[in-house]
């Protein structure tokens, strides 16, 4: 193009990109410290100026599970595959929280950090991704709580637990994929932030978090199967409680959906990323 280009190879060339661009793995790796620092910031800030502090991490899902086991187990007397209802719904909540909290936080991550987006460069994907460590931490604490419950209620552990990382990966990927897409959409249309809570609420009741899939009449089973969260929650229960999976195909569908949503979400994010600083 000119005489300069021959003598020296530029480290970075900045110019208008068109169409889809690849996910910048190298860049993400270089900024991994930022990812951890942002995650640490969120964890530190979450329970500042609260009296109970980190106890909320346990209290929140426990209260949810307690409520569900009362409404669905005691009042509605739904079956729970032979597991004490509290443990049954707590495990459901554990997996559901990983999904819904990651989805909620990653969706809000861009506009929540608008001041960073408009003032410094870093791979923007860091923002939705940085929600993962915090959620993972909460999950591990919740897992400890589950161990306590399992001892109290005498629920035996199964070897299936070895598959836990795989199922967690499905939950995170599914949530991040949607979250990345929503977060970039939210930059232009703030409406999305009001849609997400409704969507999450809807999904919660459309998924077997607080009830067993066997409680649903057979003619609706197929309809429920469209929901990719179903297979994920079933697999998660199978993993921690050893309950049978009603539909193996549903689990595979969940996994494919998760991987697909993750990569498509990341690509869509990358495509819209260029406009973030100009619009946000």
């Amino acid at each position: 193009m000119d005489s300069v280009s021959g003598t020296q190879k530029p480290l970075i060339v900045l110019k208008a990109r068109k169409g889809f661009s690849a996910i910048p793995f190298r860049d993400l790796l270089m900024y991994r410290d930022l990812l951890m620092t942002l995650a640490l910031r969120d964890v530190k800030l979450r329970y500042r100026q609260t009296a109970l502090g980190a106890i909320w991490v346990i209290l929140q899902p426990l209260a949810g599970a307690g409520l569900f086991s009362f409404v669905f187990g005691t009042v509605a007397k739904l079956p729970s595959d032979g597991i004490p209802y509290l443990v049954f719904s707590f495990v459901g909540m554990l997996c559901w929280n990983v999904f819904s909290v990651t989805l909620g936080k990653s969706s809000a991550s861009l506009i929540g950090n608008a001041h960073l987006v408009s003032k410094v460069y870093f791979p923007r994907l860091i923002l939705p991704l940085s929600t993962v460590p915090g959620v993972l931490l909460d999950f591990l604490i919740g897992l400890g709580m589950f161990a306590v419950l399992a001892v109290i209620y005498g629920v035996p552990l199964s070897v299936n637990i070895l598959a836990l990382p795989l199922i967690l990966a499905i939950a995170f990927m599914m949530a991040l994929g949607l979250g990345m897409y929503f977060s970039s959409l939210m930059v232009t249309y703030r409406d999305v932030q009001y849609v997400i809570p409704v969507l999450v609420q809807f999904l919660l009741f459309a998924s077997p978090v607080a009830f067993s899939i066997s409680a649903i009449p057979p003619k609706f089973q197929a309809l429920v199967g469209i929901n990719p969260v179903v297979g994920m929650i079933e697999a998660f229960r199978w993993c921690l409680l050893g309950t049978p999976v009603t539909n193996v195909g549903g689990v595979i569908y969940s996994a494919i959906f998760a991987v697909g949503s993750f990569f498509l979400g990341a690509l869509a994010f990358q495509r819209m990323e260029r406009r973030f600083a100009d619009v946000i």
């Binding site: 900045l14 110019k15 990109r17 910031r41």
Partner: protein
């Protein structure tokens, strides 16, 4: 020579599309209903060119100043260079790691302690954790906040906050550093420290710095070279001193000294314009719009009136470059203008006692003044930019006026010793002008 480039910019352009009033959908619902109602309509956009075919090169170790008025495209250029936004045309080639400092304390969180914020801010600016740990003591030392490291920064004084924020940024180690006017913060002493630090960065460590500022003195002092941006284009490129001189010279950027209808900001769009400003200019015998302290400030105004008017007055306000009003005056209400003719007036402000620095004026023509019932036929703002420089007339001159001393240099001071004995000696000292 070309093998030693730090960065090169080729034909860089950035366009923003501005949708016409009421045509832009800001909610999803609006976007959808609009599409349904009118599926074929395309929103009409106006294209605004923030940058237009900008090209320049910077060599390693150079400190390039980027000067230009508000809206000249400096911020857009910085945002592209620091990878916050993408250009529409052209490209930038970076031959090294770039770090940018568009504001001080980006990402600081008030609830977190100083220590936590150092790590947070450092990471946001692109530093690795190991790097921050290595520099931690130096940062704390530079900021002078040892005692408050574990206090949430919301309890910091604003001075401490800024010092800490700058300290982190100053220890950023990219090969190319992009700095926006972050030096316009903190007290004078700290500013000096920051300037010194930036000088070290370029001179001793051989790093490339791009420095954007309104502060001509700082540009002059820090930069080896400078470019002047105006309306998105590079209008001048040369040594820092040349660029500063060019920037200040009349006619270089047309609006700096003379009137041009489309570029004037009229604060009141509904002014009657019974009498209106046509042209404003500093005397042509001056080489530039620079006045020495103590000089009278003279300029010419060309007014026009369709109907003619007698007994009107001129109002004048002097502002610092950042828009702070310094002082105002209304002329006596005894000016006259004939109908349908342009009339020239020579205007002089004797002995303003303005301290060295950058200023501009706001002018009005109308009736009424100090006693109220002000009615302006026309008013213009952000015109007649000028600089006041230290006088060269006298022996006891100074080279630098500290902004912390204010904007008025008092003309004289009387000091009388009053011994217990009778017979007071009078001593009058004329101030160092």
């Amino acid at each position: 020579m070309s093998s030693n480039l730090a960065l090169s910019v080729h034909g860089l352009g950035k366009e923003y599309r501005i949708a016409h009033e009421g045509q832009r959908a800001t909610t999803l619902g609006e976007a959808i209903t609009r599409r349904i109602k009118n599926p074929l309509a395309s929103t009409s956009y106006e294209t605004f060119r923030a940058l237009d075919d900008v090209s320049f090169e910077v060599e390693k170790g150079e400190v390039l100043g980027i000067i230009g008025r508000n809206g000249a495209g400096k911020s857009t250029l910085l945002k592209i260079l620091s990878r916050i936004t993408e250009p529409t045309h052209g490209e930038v080639r970076l031959y090294g790691r770039i770090g940018s400092l568009l504001e001080v304390g980006t990402g600081f969180h008030p609830e977190l302690s100083g220590r936590e914020n150092i790590f947070l801010n450092g990471a946001i600016l692109g530093m690795r954790r190991r790097e921050i740990e290595r520099q931690f003591d130096a940062i704390v030392d530079f900021a002078e906040v040892e005692k408050f490291l574990d206090t949430p920064v919301k309890r910091y004084s604003s001075g401490m906050y800024v010092r800490l924020a700058f300290a982190v940024a100053a220890h950023l180690n990219p090969e190319i550093l992009v700095v926006d006017e972050v030096l316009a913060v903190g007290d004078a002493q700290f500013q000096k420290k920051c300037l010194g630090k930036m000088q070290d960065v370029s001179r001793q460590e051989g790093r490339t710095v791009l420095f954007v500022s309104h502060n001509m003195a700082a540009v002059n002092q820090l930069c080896t070279r400078a470019i002047v941006l105006h309306k998105g284009q590079v209008k001048f490129s040369g040594s820092a001193a040349e660029a500063v001189r060019w920037y200040d010279s009349p006619g270089s950027l047309e609006f700096a000294t003379t009137y041009s209808e489309d570029r004037f900001r009229r604060p009141d769009p509904d002014a009657s314009l019974e009498i209106q400003f046509r042209k404003l200019a500093f005397p042509t015998n001056k080489t530039q719009n620079t006045f020495e302290t103590g000089d009278p400030i003279q300029f010419k105004a060309t007014l026009y009136s369709k109907t003619g008017h007698s007994q009107f007055r001129l109002g004048l306000c002097v502002f610092t470059a950042d828009g702070t009003p310094i002082g105002s005056i209304y002329s006596p209400e005894n000016l006259e203008i004939n109908s349908d003719t342009e009339t020239n007036y020579s205007i002089e402000l004797p002995a303003t006692h303005l301290a060295p620095g950058q200023y501009f004026m706001g002018l009005s023509v109308g009736t009424g003044g100090y006693r109220g019932s002000v009615k302006d036929f026309d008013a213009v703002f952000d015109v007649l930019h000028f600089e006041v420089v230290p006088t060269t007339r006298e022996e006891e001159t100074y080279t630098d006026w500290n902004m912390a001393w204010g904007r008025i240099q008092f003309p004289s001071i009387d000091i009388k010793p009053c011994p217990p004995q009778s017979g007071i000696k009078n001593m009058s000292v004329e101030a160092i002008r």
